[in-house]
Amino acid sequence: MGKTEYKKLKGSQNLRQRLLLSTLSSTPVLIDDIRHEDTWPGLRPHEISLLRLLEKITDDCLVEINETGTKLKYKPGVIVGGRNLVHDCGLSRSIGYFLEPLLVLGVFGKKPLSIRLKGITNDSKDPSVDTFKRTTLPLLKRFGVPSEGLDLKIESRGSPPQGGGEVHLGIPIVLNSLSAVTWIDEGMVKRIRGTAFSTKVSYQFEKTMIHAARGIFNRLLPDVHIFQDHRSGQEAGKSPGYGISLVAETTTGCFISTDTAVCYARGEDTDDYDDDERKELMPPADVGEQAASMLLGEIEQGGVVDSMHQGILFILCALCPQDVSKVRVGKLSPYAIETLRHIRDFLDVKFVITPDSSTETVILKCVGCGLKNLSRKIS
């Protein structure tokens, strides 16, 4: 075998997408200049943790990091999956950060994946575990992932900064490949569901959040049900916090979700993007109202998914067999645009992007790269 060709990249941006697409397309990557001018240079704990997780679910993968952590060499292995795995996601990012790439990888494994993830279940930066359960898993099903064995169970909740949450994730494999979708009818919202949670604070917080959110929805829709998920003792993790996840379900089976969570800031995390977390905690009534407003904002956009699912939607479309997939989304989020660029670079799939000016939505079309579940074939 000849010398391994590495795809050369720079910076810490979009590391998850890069590692995910690198693994799926079996393209080794060499990433340089990772925060090399930062006060703390190099990879962050959650990024290291993600690499460890990749090592866990793949076979024969190679990770090399230089001393300062500013240079990463990653040669992907074969995705094997496996049962009864455990991974500690650490406390610098929540479990949602890890779930996003993990869900897609798991589907292309040799064996179904069953893994226990420990850490933070709800925070304001990443999608909450509730959102994954109610919105992301149905999204996978739409692309032909079998529903049997596809499950996310929230064993205990953990709020930042101390975490202490735990979820159990089961992902079945696709036997051959995903199936392409034509998904441009966003439908009309027929019901709104949600979960309000609190850890180590009074259950009154949930009631207040639910009441505030309902106050906004009630003028639009009677079918609103937000569940209370009050955890105490071991199941409440180690830190106080509260928040709410909301999902709007449409007549055509689209799920539009938003979530938000409030907690005390992580001590050492003083980067500028965190300044809104370090203030006084937002009162629960405002949290409920804010989440409801965010959901209406997403519904107003008129896509078949919400803004945080645009990225994963495009990745799934690009991984489909060589059929045309066609989807409608609202305004493209910056993250989704980066995803589109990475899909082009790694999978050589380019979308045709057409704005639909009458609805202010965007239609994207692509022919999938025809990724087969090769890991399975080898066995």
């Binding site: 979009n14 930066k125 938000t260 493209l332 980066e338």
Partner: protein, 105 residues
């Protein structure tokens, strides 16, 4: 108009044909003026606007945060407003189905 918008959006995402740049934040802002005023903040990620100013023409953010959630609390609308509520009413089953069906045609 449609075809120009189409190429614009393709260019914003993939760059001009031939150039492999993904450094198009600046262009995104320029081209969005052609579209409706509502789209003004189409491609301005939170935080990246400031970065662009500080980095001058080099708008690529090599160490941008890896985060799929796009929240912009600053522009969060006040949904207690009756007019706003009326604007999304037809997106719900309780709204006008005929009007909703015509949407996009």
């Amino acid at each position: 108009m449609m075809s120009r918008q189409k190429t614009n959006l393709m260019q914003i995402v993939y760059g001009k044909p031939g150039s492999k740049a993904s450094t198009l934040i600046k262009e995104a802002q320029g081209s969005s003026e052609d579209e409706e005023s509502d789209d003004d903040d189409f491609f301005k990620p939170k935080g990246e606007i400031n970065k662009k100013v500080s980095e001058g023409t080099d708008s690529q953010n090599f160490d941008g945060e890896d985060c799929s959630k796009f929240t912009n609390h600053v522009t969060l609308k006040n949904w207690n407003d009756e007019e706003l509520i009326a604007s999304v009413r037809d997106r719900f089953v309780t709204g006008d189905w005929a009007k909703a069906a015509r949407r996009g045609q």
